[in-house]
Symmetry: none
Subunit: 160 residues, 2 copies
């Protein structure tokens, strides 16, 4: 039931609860899960991309490693700008979802809000030819991103 990829993702995130980065051996991890080493790359590519808020560094050869670093962007003044830039005029569903997950992991939005945002940018919602979909998704998504940050500001004012 729990997919191998999901297990590996959880395992890594578990390792990162304390620290913002973790270093591991690709082959060791693969052996631990009894899978092909390239499976690890798949998990990194699909769950720990830059859009998800992670940076991967690695080194081959003897003593090689894979390091996963959670990007420190919370509170950074132009985080919103960075996101808006990333989205630009066109964005695919995968990327949008990755960014939404990232916002959730950073506790900037709730799980409910994340689900709402996903539903607004889903393929289902944007009933148009694919190329137009991406453009429209970007427009809707940018608007929601701005709102997320307004919400945070609003909360801050009310807490104080």
């Amino acid at each position: 039931m729990a997919q191998l990829s999901d297990s590996i993702e959880h395992f890594i995130k578990e390792l990162m609860t304390e620290d913002a980065h973790v270093e591991l051996r690709r082959n060791e991890l693969a052996q631990h899960f009894g899978c092909a080493p390239s499976q690890i790359n798949y998990v990194l590519a699909t769950r720990f991309s830059v859009d998800h808020g992670y940076i991967i560094e690695s080194r081959r050869g003897g003593g090689g490693y894979v390091r996963i670093v959670r990007m420190q962007t919370r509170g950074e003044p132009n985080f919103l700008d960075a996101l808006l830039n990333r989205v630009g005029n066109s964005v695919d569903e995968e990327t949008a979802n990755a960014i939404i997950s990232n916002l959730f992991e950073r506790k900037m939005i709730t799980g409910r809000e994340a689900a709402l945002m996903r539903s607004a940018v889903s393929r289902n919602a944007l009933a148009l030819p694919i190329s137009a979909k991406d453009v429209l998704r970007a427009a809707v998504f940018r608007n929601m991103l701005e709102q997320v940050f307004k919400n945070l500001e609003e909360d801050k004012r009310n807490d104080v």
Copy 2:
């Protein structure tokens, strides 16, 4: 004799007596009933549609699943259905905003969520000719409405 579809419907509802949601494998279920997998989709489409009070989520690929969620909206059994009907294929911004406010007043969504939803269906977000805007807004909005109800179900599960 009970039709296949009826048996499958009954079987699924049996599974849902305890919980308001159930997760299953399409192929397994089909095999269990000795029918084509697409038969399952037929049953879902005809007996577990939104106006029957259910919402379907699914995922393909390894570890794929079909999840069926029963909506038990407090007091008003077909509230979601009513809202979806009201929205239909085209809705203007004012109407959408009114519905959002209504959901907020009923405490079905938070203020933050309301703001997010407004941003997704705003004029700004939908950069298209006006007539197309309404159609698109309806699609985006319908998707978000369903999500609102899923969120409520989810919350209910977690509270218990």
